[in-house]
């Protein structure tokens, strides 16, 4: 069978739609994960989807609902236990260890078929149902909408928390919102495509993009592009090979992109600066503030005021 024949089959189409949805969502969330150094939170949320699913199965016979509820509990626990940014990783480790133990315990009491719970660890992208695709689409749309609204304050708070807080941004609440969004996205994606795939789509593409892009918009674009390329490319290659599991190929492509970015990145980023500096060297002489330059670098001599206007240049900024 050629790849075209495969793609005519519903199961392959479902898989391709699902992987694209997961890739876009993960690609959008990823840049904030790397900016906030939250790769470990992704890992923990993905694995703890298992505990939530086990609890959901035991209580209500519903693995998906359990995993989603669990995601919120995990996010809240991490937020409560992290009082300082530096102790976040240990807080996550604590929650992860306790949560996995709880999951194993819960699974012991469940006497049905536990494949639904264990599936989460490995996922089965070729077994995606229409209902699951709808759920993935809803989550992708919701994540995109939320990030569209909060992206700038969230980026501000992630990059420069002190100044963002001074400007009146509720940095704690923003962090919690992102944590819940992250746990939700990762959990749902793990249900469908497995933990391994989520990790290689929520962390690696953003980490690669970070090596290449200078600005936030470029990074988000690259991150989504890399995630989709890895997810869909891996899936198609897997169909073609017939033997290698898709998650292996998705992770491999993602990793190869990362290696490429690491090799190319430093030069690209440096060139960006060098080129600008070269141009600016002409337009932007040593004393950019104009009149203020009458005050030499040797230090002020009495109350020197810039001649004329009585203020340094950059007046365009101060007017309006």
């Amino acid at each position: 069978m050629s790849i075209g024949d495969y793609l005519a089959l519903p199961f392959a189409q479902h898989a391709l739609i699902a992987s694209t949805l997961v890739a876009v969502t993960c690609g959008l969330v990823g840049p904030f994960v790397t900016c906030r150094n939250m790769a470990f939170a992704v890992h923990a949320s993905a694995e703890l989807a298992f505990t939530g699913a086990a609890a959901g199965l035991l209580v209500a016979g519903n693995a998906v609902g359990g995993a989603l509820a669990g995601a919120i509990v995990v996010a809240a626990l991490i937020a409560v236990l992290t009082t300082r940014r530096r102790e976040r990783d240990s807080a996550i480790g604590v929650v992860l260890a306790a949560g996995l133990a709880l999951g194993v315990l819960l699974l012991g009491y469940y006497h049905g078929f536990a494949t639904e719970a264990t599936n989460i660890l490995f996922g089965d992208i070729f077994g995606v149902s229409t209902g699951q695709i709808v759920l993935l689409a809803v989550i992708a749309a919701a994540a995109t909408a939320i990030l569209t609204v909060i992206h700038r304050p969230l980026l501000f708070a992630s990059v420069d928390p002190e100044v963002a807080a001074a400007r009146g941004l509720a940095t704690g609440l923003l962090g919690l919102t992102f944590l819940v969004l992250l746990a939700f996205t990762v959990t749902e994606a793990a249900q469908v495509v497995g933990t391994l795939l989520v990790l290689s789509l929520a962390i690696t593409p953003a980490a690669s993009a970070q090596r290449l892009a200078a600005g936030p918009l470029a990074m988000a674009g690259l991150s989504v592009a890399f995630a989709v390329l890895a997810a869909d490319g891996g899936l198609i290659l897997s169909l073609q090979s017939g033997t290698v599991k898709p998650s292996v190929l998705v992770a491999s492509i993602s990793f190869a992109l990362y290696l490429g970015a690491r090799l190319a990145g430093p030069g690209l980023r440096r060139r960006h600066r060098a080129r600008r500096v070269g141009v600016a060297g002409v337009a932007d002489p040593a004393c950019p503030v104009g009149p203020a330059c009458s005050v030499g670098p040797a230090g002020p001599v009495g109350p020197v005021r810039p001649a004329g206007s009585g203020r340094p240049g950059g007046s365009a900024t101060m007017d309006t």
Binding site: V149, V159, Q210, R211, H272, V277, D284, A292, T320
Partner: protein
């Protein structure tokens, strides 16, 4: 300097038994440039935190723009003590500065021409045009500091709080930055509270100096505060103040 932006009334701050300063009553007026000097641990940074609403007074009251601190935060610019940015952040200097304009706004906003011009102008004013498009992590400490100043000035705040903004700047750029802050307070009427260890770069511009040391404080014009008699009295030991060609040198105490 008609109306006051900051008003301290018998304000005091202590940690346990240790008094940082107390009984401070003064105002900082529109367009006034107040430099805060003093040794490490004298409570200079904490004073800024009080004005940001991040730290509460132990006694007395303080208002910013007539309100308790922390209410009108959009109108307060802040240049924090220097902390280097993570080298891998996907943020350019231009993006950091832009936060000064709309970092707190929700949703999408298209980069308007006017906003772009304001960002460009302030970047040029701090001499940051050459590295404005480079990742911020690749900028030196002094370059990052100039970007932070640009960010704070862009919003044209009513009150500008600067915590050691001259650290890691060479003398030329210390001049540039101080002159810029001075221009902002003259043009826009921003009240400036400027914590610094470097007296001389700011001396031509400051209106008054608040000198904190050993649990006490002195407030006045530079010629009132920076004298052998005043500082010796404040430190409780002999401190000599020399003026050498209009530069001030303090000997006998850690500034």
């Amino acid at each position: 300097m008609t109306d006051s932006v900051v008003r301290f009334d018998r304000a005091g701050l202590r940690f346990g038994d240790r008094v940082l300063w107390e009984d401070l009553t003064t105002t900082v007026g529109r367009g006034e440039f107040l430099a805060v000097l003093g040794p490490n641990g004298a409570g200079k940074t904490t004073l800024l935190k009080v004005l940001l609403g991040a730290e509460a007074l132990s006694s007395g009251t303080v208002t910013v723009g007539g309100q308790p601190p922390g209410r009108a935060r959009r109108r307060v610019g802040y240049v924090p003590q220097q902390r280097a940015f993570d080298p891998d952040l996907p943020i350019r200097g231009r993006d950091l500065v832009r936060f000064g304009l709309d970092g707190h706004r929700w949703g999408v906003s298209l980069p308007g021409r006017a906003a772009q011009r304001r960002v460009d102008a302030v970047l040029a004013a701090v001499g940051a045009t050459g590295f404005a498009d480079a990742p911020i992590g690749s900028c030196s400490g002094g370059e990052q500091q100039r970007l932070r100043i640009a960010q704070a000035l862009l919003a044209q705040p009513d009150l500008l709080l600067c915590d050691e903004p001259l650290l890691s700047l060479d003398p030329g750029h210390q001049q540039v930055v101080t002159a810029l802050v001075d221009g902002c307070r003259r043009e826009v009427g921003t009240a400036v509270v400027f914590v610094t260890h470097e007296i001389n770069p700011v001396l031509p511009y400051v209106d008054r100096i608040l000198y904190l040391a050993g649990g006490g404080w002195r407030l006045g014009t530079p010629s009132e505060v920076l004298t052998t008699a005043t500082l010796s009295d404040l430190y409780g030991s002999r401190v000599e103040v020399f003026r050498v060609e209009n530069r001030v040198v303090v000997a006998g105490a850690e500034i």
